[in-house]
């Protein structure tokens, strides 16, 4: 059996294992047997069934989806922009989505509209925000080839969004402010099963688009010019990649808040493990790595009752430092 197959089996088993572990860890002690019964509709107390299905299962599915989605989005951005430090968070795509959500949550009461926290509204606002940032980056990136400039612009954009959000916070009412502040901390647990009905199809659609762009991504490893001479339709590929990343990073940001470092760090873990750069291998590997790491983060966050963003940062930062040091040497 090839090295790749063995690693894929290990990754898949790890993801399944962590998913099950995530279901059995929580504020209330529930025996694994009861968790199984609750899932399969067996004989167990109704409260237990409710906790397992409505809270834990939803949260574990969200962690699985969000981890996979953010990581794949990071992989797409790193290859497209040919930069190891690109990712939805760094490029300001998450910030764009945040601005959309902020305008939606904080802005709608200001305009005298009732604070409709409807699922589709938040997602729509995040998609528009993420797509706007991507369009901006693409427009700038077309004129300026230097990727450092794009990264700096991404950082500046994030800070700008931060400032606008602060102004909105200053102006907004207490109840919507609280809802927004909690959202910015990032949480996998606030997703309702109704929102899950939007999250799952949107992420799956984004992943399908990602699979369609595997061959273009491989060609883009040599840069846009080489890719074009090998028959790549650059405009079509860019549109597909942007649509994919908007669906993946935008949707996750809408419902889970801005989660950092997963999108940036996970593609590197996958590259290192697989020691390959073929996206036919990297895409599934990145997705599985991202999903299992976010499940792990969720388990840690439940065990120690910590916000998820703090844990992804603590896990991600060493990886990013390693990447920077390795790139420089």
């Amino acid at each position: 059996m090839s090295r790749h197959s063995i690693l894929f089996i290990i990754l898949t088993l790890t993801t399944i294992g962590l998913f099950c572990l995530d279901l059995s860890v929580g504020a209330v002690n529930i025996a694994p047997g009861d968790v199984w019964k609750a899932l399969t509709g067996g004989d167990c107390p109704p409260v237990t069934a409710k906790i397992v299905i409505n809270i834990r299962l939803v949260k574990a599915v969200v962690a699985l989806m969000a981890g996979g989605a953010l990581s794949v989005s990071g992989l797409q951005m790193q290859t497209l922009f040919r930069n190891p430090l690109a990712g939805p968070y760094v490029l300001g795509i998450s910030s764009g989505a945040s601005l959309g959500v902020a305008l939606f949550i904080l802005g709608s009461p200001l305009l005298g509209l009732s604070a409709v926290f409807s699922s589709i509204g938040i997602a729509g606002a995040a998609w528009i925000g993420a797509a706007a940032v991507l369009t901006l980056i693409a427009a700038v990136g077309h004129r300026i080839k230097d990727i450092m400039v794009i990264l700096i612009l991404g950082m500046m954009f994030s800070s700008g969004v931060g400032a606008i959000v602060q102004i909105l916070q200053y102006l907004s009412r207490e109840e919507s402010l609280k809802a927004f502040v909690i959202w910015t901390m990032g949480s996998l647990g606030d997703v309702t099963s109704g929102q899950l009905m939007i999250l799952i199809p949107a992420v799956v659609a984004g992943l399908i688009l990602a699979v369609v762009t595997i061959k273009p991504l491989n060609l883009l490893l040599l840069g846009e010019e080489y890719a074009r001479t090998m028959g790549l339709n650059l405009r079509r590929t860019r549109s597909l990649l942007f649509l994919s990343t908007t669906l993946l990073a935008g949707t996750v940001t809408a419902y889970c808040g801005p989660i950092g470092f997963i999108g940036l760090a996970m593609p590197h873990v996958a590259r290192m493990a697989m020691s390959d750069s073929d996206h036919r291998v990297l895409l599934p590997a990145t997705m599985l790595t991202g999903a299992s790491v976010l499940l792990l983060c969720d388990i840690i966050s439940k065990l120690f009752t910590l916000p998820i963003n703090a844990i992804t940062a603590l896990l991600g930062i060493p990886i990013v430092i390693w990447v920077v040091l390795r790139t420089k040497s």
């Binding site: 369609v212 595997i214 061959k215 491989n218 060609l219 490893l221 040599l222 840069g223 010019e225 080489y226 074009r228 001479t229 090998m230 028959g231 790549l232 339709n233 590259r271 697989m274 020691s275 390959d276 750069s277 073929d278 036919r280």
Partner: protein, 241 residues
């Protein structure tokens, strides 16, 4: 065969080539020479379909470049640029296999014939032993050879190379140009490469395309040497040993 008809191109507001008509033939190796900034890369990029902001017509084997779809263009012209391609974890073999992209399906599945073409291309540039090496573990010259193998795997009638000799030492420069010469003659390809190495260009290529802005002179090497154009443009005498 590359044909330029009333071809004009500029860089910003500066005209580099104006109303040029020239033919670059198949089955021969043509060296593109000219001073720095005279538009060698700009011309190559235009023929490769990367720069559409030119006037006039470029046609390849009788077909207008502008009317070709990206996939069709990729099976007609291959380009080797000076861009760095030292990507970590990227295997040489996979780079050469990318040359098959215009022929493979949506996910890039290689057929037996594609694998044969890839291994043939690798051995043509003498890099068969490097197939499983990664691009970041090799020298610039070795990367350059892999990129040329990739262009060969694209199996196009036209191959363009932008300063392919720039990273190589003297023996390798000669080797590479002999390889290009052989490919042009044995496989009937139209190979056009830009270079600053006048001596190699004059010794090994069949024709010389000389950019003397805003004109392009394309002549067989013998005639070019006899024409006195090179000494005039470069301000040197050519000593042919």
């Amino acid at each position: 065969m590359i044909e330029l008809n009333d071809f004009s191109i500029g860089y910003g507001k500066r005209a580099l080539l104006k109303d040029v008509s020239a033919t670059i033939g198949s089955g021969s190796l043509t060296a593109l020479i000219g001073r720095n900034g005279s538009g060698k890369s700009t011309l190559l990029r235009a023929i490769a379909g990367l720069n559409g902001s030119f006037d006039g017509i470029i046609s390849i084997d009788g077909h207008d470049l502008r009317s070709m779809r990206p996939q069709r263009l990729a099976t007609t012209v291959a380009l080797v640029t000076t861009e760095r391609t030292r990507v970590a974890n990227l295997h040489c073999e996979d780079v050469v296999a990318m040359g098959r992209a215009p022929y493979t399906n949506w996910i890039g599945r290689m057929q037996e014939i594609d694998r044969q073409i890839v291994s043939h291309a690798l051995s043509a540039v003498g890099m068969s032993d490097y197939a499983r090496r990664t691009m970041d573990s090799m020298s610039d010259g070795e990367c350059q050879r892999i990129m040329i193998a990739r262009a060969l795997a694209q199996t196009t009638p036209v191959i363009l190379l932008d300063e392919p000799t720039s990273f190589l030492d003297l023996p390798n420069r000669y080797d590479l140009c002999r390889l290009l010469h052989r490919l042009a003659h044995e496989e009937g390809k139209c190979i056009l490469f830009s270079t600053h190495e006048l001596d190699i260009a004059l010794k090994l290529s069949d024709s010389i395309a000389l950019i003397d802005p805003p004109a392009l002179h394309c002549l067989p090497t013998e005639k070019m040497i006899g024409s006195n154009m090179i000494p005039r443009l470069f301000g040197i005498e050519i000593g042919m040993g």
